[in-house]
């Protein structure tokens, strides 16, 4: 694919990634296991903006993604353009806003231990180490999403489950996890 098409023609994948993270987080009660990275807890919080063309729903609250309005927006065909997120990796806790169309992070708060008066290079290295720690988790989650999104079961098995979830019906978490394991496990085997 040409670079321009890869960038502009595939922006929708970012919105689908956020909705998949949201679904994944609810299916697994926030305990995510990205392939090749440590397990993390992750959820959407505080604010989410869903859009369909020029129509926009901006929802705020403790966990707006679990509000009926958020699922209603999904049922109307809207997808998240921007969402506040929190991720916990061991003792480290990160919070930021993800812009879906570019995968860019805003207002990222790092769990730094050093203070601004500490040696400036050490402060910088700590910040970069924490940033890389978060990005490792996010990259692994994005890789899992892409593998699932490009596999045959996405349309046949996963999307129907996500529709059930969006419509407030029972989404079979066991069936979803089995499909996910099959796709990602197969990829791992092929890589070996």
């Amino acid at each position: 694919m040409e670079l321009l098409d890869l960038i502009e023609g595939r922006r929708f994948m970012g919105r689908e990634f956020v909705v998949w993270l949201w679904f994944e987080s609810e299916m697994q009660e926030t305990n995510l296991h990205p392939t090749g990275a440590d397990p993390v807890s992750m959820w959407l919080e505080a604010q989410i903006t869903l859009v369909l063309e020029k129509e926009e729903s901006r929802l705020k609250g403790a966990i707006p993604a679990s509000s009926p309005e958020a699922k209603e927006a999904l049922r109307q065909g809207k997808l998240p353009k921007e969402a506040k997120m929190r991720l916990v990796h061991g003792e480290r806790e990160y919070a930021w806003t993800l812009k879906a169309d570019s995968l860019a992070l805003s207002g990222l708060k790092l769990p730094t231990q050093l203070k601004k008066n500490d040696e400036k290079h050490e402060v910088f290295y700590e910040r970069m180490m924490l940033l890389e720690d978060l990005e490792t988790s996010l990259s692994a989650l994005y890789a899992d999403f892409v593998r699932l999104r490009l596999a045959d079961p996405w349309d046949d098995e996963i999307v129907p489950l996500m529709k059930n979830w969006a419509h407030g019906e029972k989404a079979d978490a066991g069936a979803y996890l089995a499909t996910k394991r099959a796709v990602l496990g197969e990829k791992r085997k092929r890589k070996k």
Partner: protein, 214 residues
């Protein structure tokens, strides 16, 4: 002054880029000369251009005499993308222009000025006013991780991204690919089947079609 939040302090807001192309094995040993050649140069009131950009120290945008210690932090290349701009308030320019025009008309005994004379007068007034002002200064942190070849620009402005693209390519002779959902997927190393699926991908719709709802 530029933004106070970035790589060194505060919360982080950034765009990511992948550095690709012919990346030298020894970036610190081979690029310092070109970084120095592209360091920020102060604007002059007589310049035709209204703004100028170049590299500065990530820690202090006023430091533009860059050396190894100011740029290379272990595996990181750290720079400030400094952008200075002449900003003359519109009403101030208008008032000075009116006074200068009236003075010139009186001096030449004319009733009105031609287009070219007006343009020349404006250039002269702008230069005069610039001498009484200091350019606005902004600096954006840029951090290139040489181990992963991922670069963080601490701005999400398209204009600043375009400035970085130009300055970075000119300095390092490599390519910068902006991260996006598509480029991030492509970077995973898709197999042939996945690449075909990617090329034909259509957006997922979670709304139910009428026949599904029945």
């Amino acid at each position: 002054m530029g933004p106070t939040l970035g790589a060194l302090r505060g919360s982080l807001t950034f765009s990511r880029f992948y550095v690709t192309g012919d990346i030298p094995d020894d970036v610190p040993g081979t690029t310092l000369k070109r970084i120095r050649a592209n360091a920020f140069q102060p604007l002059s009131p007589d310049d035709e251009k209204n703004e100028g950009a170049g590299w500065a120290s990530i820690e202090d945008p006023f430091v533009t005499d860059l050396d190894h210690e100011k740029v290379f932090y272990n595996e990181y290349v750290c720079l400030g993308l400094r952008l200075d701009r002449w900003v003359i308030p519109g009403p101030l320019l208008k008032a000075h222009l009116r006074d200068a025009e009236q003075a010139l008309l009186a001096k030449r005994g004319l009733e009105r000025l031609g287009r070219q004379a007006k343009a020349e007068l404006k250039t002269m007034v702008v230069r005069k006013l610039r001498r009484q002002l200091v350019p606005s200064l902004k600096s954006y942190d840029v951090v290139w991780n040489l181990r992963t070849n991922v670069l963080h620009l601490y701005s999400q402005s398209e204009r600043i991204s375009a400035l970085l693209d130009d300055l970075f390519k000119r300095t390092f002779k490599v390519d910068l690919v902006p991260e996006s959902p598509g480029t991030a997927a492509d970077r995973l190393g898709l197999d042939a089947k996945e690449a075909r699926a990617m090329a034909g991908l259509e957006p997922t719709i979670l709304a139910r079609l009428e026949e599904e709802a029945r």
